[in-house]
Each structure stands twice: as structure tokens, then as C-alpha cells.
């Protein structure tokens, strides 16, 4: 599916072949399965070993949400420390984040807090984040319990999923949820915009002045 889009990608954007475009970012420690997760979602394929991502990479998928075509541009990032400065630069334009750890790797779970701080520092405050514990198929090797993941997610105020890119568990759900939250947030801010405009006429005297002056005491 991917190769067909190559040349068209840019054109699509111009063609307005979608109603919204969301830029999403997958972040998390190295080798927690970010690339696999993305491939599972975008291509519905799984390979046990993808080349470790250098810098950033991306995939595109269009979904339908509330009768709208939403084009997801999902950026996959390198998890290595050394790439932090490069990848954080891309945070600013992202509307949603998938923060991933590996349930079989304690260290990647411990790093979630740091990643969260990074998001706070480098993204706009309205970016939405979903916490994802990947590789939940490897029950034998699990070191981070679902409860701990949930607890941390609550503490950070994030939505939480445990997923498996290999067994295709919850992969779609994560993206759908994230898209939903972003949509909600968007309509929220759209809703709040008119109130802003309204309040301009409501609580203020400037507009009222005009009325009082023409319709005031003269009649």
C-alpha cells in the first residue's frame, strides 16, 4: 500500500484528499517496538526484526472518524539517547504522542517519566498522549505489570493500553483512541472559540454602547 503513495503523497496534501491531517509521533526507549507497532498499524505486517530507526521515519494512514477523512502522518523516532535532540525538534508540530515502553523491560518503563517531561518541554500543551505498554504477548518475560502501567498512566493523566504488535492486540485501538482524543480536543477548542466571540458582545459594554445610544433615552 505504501509504495503506491510515494509520488502522490505531496499531491494528496494539495488535493485536500482528507478533511484533517494529524501528525502523530511514536516515542519511547530504544527497541520497545515502535517501528513494529507502526508497521502493524499501517501495513498490518509484522517482522521480528526491523532495522533500528535512524533519526525519524514515517508512515501514512487515512482513517474515517465522525464522517471525516483523517490523514494520519505517523512519525516513528529513534529511541537511542543520542537521537533525543534530533527527535525532540519534531515534537512541536505533533498533535498526538504514543509513548511506548516494553513490558519486558523495566528500564523502558522507568524512562516513561522522562519522556513525558520531554513532551511537556518540547510540544505545545494541547498535544495528546497515550501511554502504551508493548510486547504484552511475552507474558513469560513480563516485568512490568498491567497495574503498574495503569497506575503510572493515571498519575500522568494519560490513557493507557497494553498492546502487542506481534499478536496485533490493541494496535488499532490505540490509534483510534488517540484520534478520538485529538478530535474531541479540537471540537472543544472550536466550541470555545465562539464563546470567546460571544463573550465579546455579552459581558462587554462596547457593543452595548451603540445600542444604548441610539435606542436609549431618545425614544
Amino acid at each position: 500500500m505504501a509504495s503506491a503513495n510515494d509520488s502522490k503523497w505531496q499531491k494528496d496534501a494539495a488535493d485536500q484528499n482528507f478533511d484533517y491531517m494529524f501528525k502523530l509521533l511514536i516515542i519511547g526507549n530504544s527497541s520497545v517496538g515502535k517501528t513494529s507497532f507502526l508497521f502493524r498499524y499501517a501495513d498490518d505486517s509484522f517482522t521480528s526484526a526491523f532495522v533500528s530507526t535512524v533519526g525519524i521515519d514515517f508512515k501514512v494512514k487515512t482513517v474515517f472518524r465522525q464522517d471525516k477523512r483523517v490523514k494520519l502522518q505517523i512519525w516513528d523516532t529513534a529511541g537511542q539517547e543520542r537521537y533525543r535532540t534530533i527527535t525532540t525538534a519534531y515534537y512541536r508540530g505533533a498533535m498526538g504522542f504514543i509513548l511506548m515502553y516494553d513490558v519486558t523491560n523495566e528500564e523502558s518503563f522507568n524512562a516513561v517519566m522522562d519522556w513525558c517531561t520531554q513532551i511537556k518541554t518540547y510540544s505545545w500543551d494541547n498535544a495528546q498522549v497515550v501511554l502504551v505498554g508493548n510486547k504484552c504477548d511475552l507474558e513469560d518475560e513480563r516485568v512490568v505489570s498491567t497495574e503498574r502501567g495503569k497506575q503510572l498512566a493515571d498519575q500522568l493523566g494519560l490513557e493507557f493500553f497494553e498492546t502487542s504488535a506481534k499478536e496485533n492486540i490493541n494496535v488499532k485501538a490505540v490509534f483510534e483512541r488517540l484520534v478520538d482524543i485529538i478530535c474531541d480536543k479540537m471540537s472543544e477548542s472550536l466550541d470555545s472559540d465562539p464563546t470567546l466571540i460571544n463573550s465579546q458582545t455579552k459581558g462587554t459594554r462596547l457593543t452595548e454602547n451603540a445600542n444604548t445610544q441610539q435606542g436609549g433615552c431618545q425614544c
Partner: protein
Amino acid sequence: MPGHVPNNKISSLEPDGLQDADVFEITDFTTATDWERFIARLEEVLHEWNLINHAPLPPSPKGELSSDKWKEKTDTVNFANFMFDITYKYLNRDDIDLHSNDQRSSPEEEDDGDSEDQLPTVMADLMSLDNDFPAKAHCLCRWYGLQEFVVIAPSNQSDPILSESRTKILLSSVSIALHNAGCAVPIFVQVQQFWRQMFTGTCVLSGSAIDFDVIHLKSIPSPYNHLAGLLDVFKAKIATHVVPRPTVTVAVRFTYILTDWVNSPWPQEPPDLSSPMEDEIGCSSFKSLPFGACEDPVSELQLACTWPSLSEDMIVENQNYSDLDPMHAPQWSVRIIMTEDPNCLLGKYLTEFLRCCNRKETTNELLWNVLSNQDSSDQTGDIGQALSRLTDPKLAHQLPAINQTGDIGQALSRLTDPKLAYQLPAISNVVYTANNQTGDIGQALSRLTDPKLAYQLPAISSVVNTASSRLALKPGQAPISQEALNEIVFYVFPDAQDKFKSSNDDDGSKETTELDKKYKVILDELPKQLKSAPVDSLLHRLAVCLNVVYMNHGGMKGVAQLWQEFVLEMRYRWENKHQIIGVEGGAPNLGACLLYQKLQMLNCCIERKIKREQIYKGYTGESLETPDSDSGCLATDKQLANHNKMSKSDSLTTSFSKENLTCNSDNSEQQNRDAKHNCDSLTEELPAKIVHLDSSSEDEEFFECDEESMDEDSSRSNTKQLTHIDSVDTTSSSEAPFHDSITHKPEGRQCRHGDLLLLHVDEPLYIPLTQEPSPMTEDMLEEHAEVLAKLGTSSEGAQLRARMQSACLVSDMESFKAANPGCVLEDFVRWYSPRDWIVDDDDVIDDNVDDNKDDLKQIKGYLSSRMQIPGNVWVEAWNGARPVPARRQKRLFDDTKEAEKVLHFLASMKPGDVIRNLLSVLVHSAIITIVENEDSDIPKLTEMVQQLVTMASKVTRTPHQDIKRYEDLIRRIAFVETLIARARSLKDKFTTDLIDRPDCFDEMQKFVCDMLHYPEVSVRGGPSGPAGSVIHKLFVAAQKELYMISDSDSSSNTEHQSTVPDFPRPSAREYILRTTAPRPAPYSKTLPHKMYCSLMEGHEFRLAGAFSSDSVFQ
């Protein structure tokens, strides 16, 4: 609605009724004439709007009529070819939901007895006492208290209905339509000139009808200049003969106007409008945006004294006597009339400035006619000619212009001597001063040739600026005067004035501490919320200066001139390696505006350039050996001194080896003591072990790490280390699959990576010094992302992307190879991506047992499967990487190129672009200004400021700066400013010293606050309340003032001859008379009648009457 709804229902069941309905739905042989068509169309509209068979509504709750819940529907109707607008205005009753409405109407149909009690909406409205004198409403609503009505008015206002017969035709048409449709909503026809607000109307109810009419006169007929006369009119109109005569209830409102604010004349402190224009230029004028209104934003106070509901017998007002003393009125309310446009400065400045952001002129186009007269040949860049002019004393005064036009001078000097290029501005300055003061061009030229002199000028950059512009423009014609320009430059670049004085910073900090606490959070959050630039940064200063310059110093030309100065200064700073002050260091902050990022970028470039040159020049002098020599350099005393400071700093090391760092800080004390010793001994014993400086990164860090590694080394046995090194050459050659690096000496080491040893060589694993990734501004990033995205989502695309981004990886690999001779990819991965090195469980070995060398060697593991994929980017890059230390690699970040790109970006901006790019910063400044000035404790204002910030954050963050949204934003800023100005003005007027009791202070504050929020505020306690007494005092003071001035006039005013009255004559008197009486015959049904009277002294006399009549028992 008694009987109305059921009646209609019945009629619709009858054959006649059916026929009626069919007529207008099907057609049309009855609609032959224009008149009939008009009626049919009216009915159609009424049906469309669903105004038929309404269940009656209760009167609207108190105060609702002046709310903003009014809605309207509009359509057009033609009478022949005369077009009318028909408008249905109604109050959106959200207090009653529609479902209950339906429910209510159904039981009525079942039980007629119940619905008898319910008055039709119109009548209920007429008689409701709750809605007399609404604060703000349509005049029909004001007169009759209606919550819904339809108005028919000529579409063309200049073609009013003047003749009586036309009015009658319209009214009867309306009447027929209402009858046919069974609609109980009153319809009004606007007659006479629009400004007269004459409406005549009718309402058809079942069994009755109401006529509405208006009398409008210019002056008040004396018999009707009081309540008694008006009552006579009312009674005569009802003309009822029943006995006893029904009593009339009366509601009265007198309005008094106060325009003389004796206690608080405006302005209290005249805003500095003119001072920047005049010769003496106040320092403050460039430093902050102006704030406040030029005119008093509060123009008058209207006091309305209301007697809400009296029986006609209770009060007397006639020619000779009046009970209506305002001091005895039970209700007082106040409205404040605001000045339409009080000329608020901040809003004005911003609005005017914004208007220019779409201007397309370039700097040169704007300044061409003030540039000194130059031949066109110079502009085309004929350097030869320029040169000859340079040497020609007569033409020397034109030299600056050469500079100006496309920097030919600079280009020229660069051509002749690149090294001296950066000195040129200074030189030109010297030329100028010499020329101007002594006129001795020869001297100037001699100075020109003496570069040392140019060097020695103290504050080169600032002088250069002022000088170059002064030179460039015709004397006296520059948009910004020399004096002003100097001041601006010193303000924008405080370091130009005096590098050691930082008085400006003190000012800023003082201001912030004085700020109100309630805004502290907002202010603290502001830089994060808005995409602008840090507070008090260079851009803030520049944005404010540009705005002030635009308003007071030559408009766009001034902007162009100042911008050109700015760009010149930027170039100067780059070329002379002066850091730009007022711009944060480090990589561009992507949360700031683009322009700020560009300046940060330029600063990065300058920083790198300084470092680069230090390494090649400065350090050779200090260190014993040149950094280029492979044997490394010595740690000097200075470096050791640095060590202490740096050892705890949050360096890059943290991320790579936390273990190391903790160890470092633990040992730091001991280290300090031993450092020098170690160093000395090491340099003696192990020259090859010492890492030398890297050109491209921060030196201090490396020194720390050097010592750290040395320390570690020394904590082991030095001799052991020596043997290690000896063994490298011999042993590793046989084992390592990597051939080219075996024999090279290690270079560019940063520190050891924990206790790790290389896999194939018995040698610790060193973290290399690496190149830092290049900083990027958002536009670069975007471009980069776009390029990456263009490669598409195929696997080939992904590979290409990986390769494109592998420059950094390759560079790191090369550094690693250089630092770790004999290393393999596995070693690299262990440092770079540790999770891709999988340790065999059987061989997990306690790394800390470092005295057992054999164990360390036995660590076994393998690369993760993804690293083993044949031909993957990592393997490829590793195979291609040569052992080159970072400082000898190709620069990942070309500071020269990037700086030139930034400078080009700045120089190619048109003044309009500059304005557009600075809007966010300016908005930021404006919000700070607002917050600094908002000292009223009005909750609403706090809320509005908060809203403003929210709005601003949205607007400034939009990727493509939308001017429309900025317009809205600035309108809002202006609005908040106006509100603050009003609040201030009101606070001054209702000053605390007028309050009798101190315990009323809070109430007064609330009162002032309410006056800002609501069109009309009732005065608690009326005349005897605290606010009432203040208002009373204000009127008394104004009256005294008035009568002292016009003593002679008072003789004409017989009533007030003896004493000065507390209040002026009411400027408006309103009376509402109501009664219920049978009409037209004594045996008719008893129906409500209402008359509204408005008497305005010298203005108008208006009676608006609604009289019902029984249409059955006439």
C-alpha cells in the same frame, strides 16, 4: 389565549376553514390584484415562521427584555413593486422549554375553562409591571413591553410611507392577513421618516383587537408637560363611561444627566502623545508601548429615578406642583455613557502597525528618495567607480551612500582584503566623523588606512549603526532623527552603550516585582503560551521600538530605516564575533517565533565561530603543544581551574554514562586534590593516553572528562595501563576483524564508558567526543521533514531516509573508531544502543570486579537480530566509517553557511514582513503592558485578560500567521484597554473620599465594577444608599459649579432662584399609564390599555398607545 386556539381548531374542521386553507396553499384566482398578493404573501410568511396558533406565553421574567436573547427572522414582501422588509423579533425564551409549551397547550384544548384565565401574550406583556423601562431594548419593546412582534418597513429607507392612505392600506392588509392566518402576534408598520421611529400597528385576537399608534412631536405641548395632562389624554382615549371609572396605574422614570465631573477633570495625567515628536525625547518613549485613553472614556452619567407602580391618586404632578422629587424616588439606577472612541493609545498603535504588514515595498523602495543623491551607476554596483570616489575628497561625503546601496563598500573591502572586512563599518564611521567635524577628508582617509585605529573604537557596533545610517541618508531627511536613532540603538543593544553597565536589567526586574500577584501566574505562563520571544529580549525591544518609530518617526520609512540598522548590526556582530545580547543561547527554541529562532541560530553560529577560532588561534598560545598534534595536549592550570566548576555541570556525559558521573561527583573532592598531581604524572608517563582538544565541541567538558578518565586510569595501576597500551598493537591485530584502525593512536576520547572493555581488544571502551547535531530553526526543520516525507512510505523511501539521516551516525561511528582502536560494531552498539547488545545470561559478570581481568574478557553476547540484518544501515555505516576524530571530520554544522543564510533572510525581509514577523512579539508586549496597567480589582477584567492570553496563544501558534486573526486579537486588546481606561476613569470619579462610611468601600467597588459590566445598574438603597449619596454629591457639585458660572441665567429660572437645586431639570421623563376598562362600549369586555409617554426637554414628545377593543360586543 382564551378561546383562540380552540376556535381556530374548530374553524379548520369546518368546510369553510378548509377552503380557506386551500386557497393560499393551492392558488390563486383570488390573488388577482397586488393587494391580494401582498396579503397572501404576508400570510405565507407568517406560516413560514410558524406564528400561527401559538400557545400564549407568560410575560418574560424581569430584566429579560434587555438581555441579548433577542432573535430575529427577516424576509421581504412586495406590494406591487414596492418592497418591504418584514422582520419578526422575539425573545428567545430559554426559561420555558418548547416541550412544556406543547404540553401546556394540549390540556387547554381539553379544558377550556382553564385557558380562559390565560391572557394572550400581547396583553400579558402590556400589563406586566416587571418589564417597564428596560435598560436596553428595541423601542417597541420599550414602549409596550412586548416579547415578540413583527415589523414591516420599506426596504428602502429613503422611501418612507408618508401618506395616511398608504398607511391605512397597509394596516388593513395586515389586519386581514392576521385574521386569515389566525396569528396573535402584533404587527407594526413603520411610517414616516425612519428617524422618527413612528410605528403603527395592530394585533388581532379572538374577540378583541389592539391598536397601536404613536404621536411624535418636536416640542412638548404645555398642557401635557406633566402627569395630570397625560392622564387626561389617556382617559379621553379610552373614553369609557363605566362607573366607577377604572383607576390608572402609573410608572414614572425621570432621568438626570451628569456631564460635569467637577471632582475629577480629565485627564488626570495627560498621556505623552506629543513628547516623542518634540525635541526632547524622553527615554521611556521607545521602551514601552503607550497605554491609556486620550479622552475621558466616560462621557456622562445618567441617573434614572423610578417610581415603579403608583396609583394615579397617590401622586400629583401638575403645572404648579410635583410629588416627584428624585430624592424620594424608591428606585435609582445609573447608566454610564461611554465615549465612542476614547482614542486608546495601545490599541491605536497596534492597529495602525498591523495595517502595514501587507505592504510590499522593500527597504530601498521606501528609502530611495531620502538616500543622498547618487548616480545610478553606484547602485548598479560599479565598484571601480565607487573606489575612485572613495579616493576623491570632493565626493567623500557620498561615501556613505555607497555603503548603503547594496553594501558595496563592504563588498569592496572584502574584495580587497577579506581580513579587514569586518572593520569597514567602523572605518566608514571614522570617515564620517572626520568629514563632518573637520572636513578634512585626508585625515579621514589616513584613518581609513589605519586598521588599528578602527579596532580601538570602544563601542564599535553602536557607533557604526548610527553612523552608517546617518551617512546614508540626506541630512535632515532621515525618517528617524540622529538623536532618536542613537537612543533606540542604545536601548535595543544595551551592550553597545556600556558593556559593564546593566541598568536596563534592573528596571525590568523592578517592574515585575511590583506587579500584582493575581497576574503572576499569567505572566509566568505567558512566554510558554505565546509563540513570541522571551520577555525583555532583543526582539521585544525591537518590536516596541519599531512600533513607536512607525507612529512617531516617519511611518514605514522609519521602520525601514531602523530595520536596516538592525540587519547591519547583525552582520557586524557575526563578522566581529560579538554575541547578540538579549537572545538566549543554545539551539533555537521552537516555541519562539521564527525571527527569534533565526537570531538564536545566528548566535549559535557566532558561538561556534568563536570556538573554532579560539582553537586554532587562542589555544595554541596557551597550551604547550598545538591541538593538531596527535600526541595530544596538556591540561593547563586554567583547565584544572575549570574542572571544579564543570564537574557537576549537567554535561552531555550524563546521558551516556550516569554511572560515570556519580562516580565523578563522589570523587570530585579527592579528584581536585589529586588532579594536578595525576595530570602531571600522567603526562609524563602516558603521553599517548591523554585525549586532546576537540575543535567543535565545548572544551571544558572535555577537560573534565579527560581528567575523569585519567583519574580512573590512575586509580587503577598506571603500570597496568601501560602494558595495556603496549599490548594493543600486538594482540588486537590478530583478533580484530577491523583492520584500518588497529595501528592508529586513539584520538578524540571523551571518557570511559563505565567499566566496559572492548570486545576484541583488551582496552577500555571510550566514549568519543562527538559532533553536536546542528541546530535547526523551524523552517529548516519543516523543509527537512518535507524532504523526508517526499520520499514516500515505501521501504526504499524509508531506506533513503535512513541514509539521509545517517550523517550523524557515521560521524559518531568515525569518532568512536578514532577513540577506540580495534573496536567492532558490537562495541559501538554497546555504547550507542545498549539494548541491541544481548548479553548471554550464563556469562553475566560483575563488572565491578575489575581486578580480575580475565573475567572481563569473558563477557559474551551478541547483537540483536535487527542489528544483524544483512546490509542494514548500521552495518553499512559502520563499514564505511573511517577512524576520524570529530574535530577532523567534515562539520555537520557549517556555521558560516548558516549565518549567511540567516543574514540573507533578515536582509531580504521587507518592512511589511518584519512587522508581520514581529506581531506575536508585539502582542506579547501589549499583554504585558495591559497587565501592568490593570490595577482595578474587577474580576471580569482578570477573566478577560485570561481569555486574551488564550486567544493570543492560539493566534500566535498558527503556523501561517493569519492577519485576520491578528486583527481580531488586536481589536480585543484595544477593547480590554478601553475597559481598563474606563475602569480607571470611573474609579477616579467615584473616589473614596466621597464615601461617607468606610465600611461601604467594598460595596462602592462592586458598584463601579457593575457599571462597567451592565448597561444599567440599580443603586442599592436608592438615594439613601452609599452609592446614592455619592451620586447625589456629584450632582450637587456639578450644580454648584454650573450656577456659579451662570448666575445671570438663573433669574429666568424662577423655581430655583432662592437656592440652587441639587439636581438639574430631568432631561427625560417617562410615564407608563395602564388600566383595564371595557372598550369601545360600556358592555364590552374589560380589556387592558397602555400608554407610554416620553418627554424630553427640547427634544421630543412622544406618546405610544396600545388600546384594545372588543371586536364582538362593540
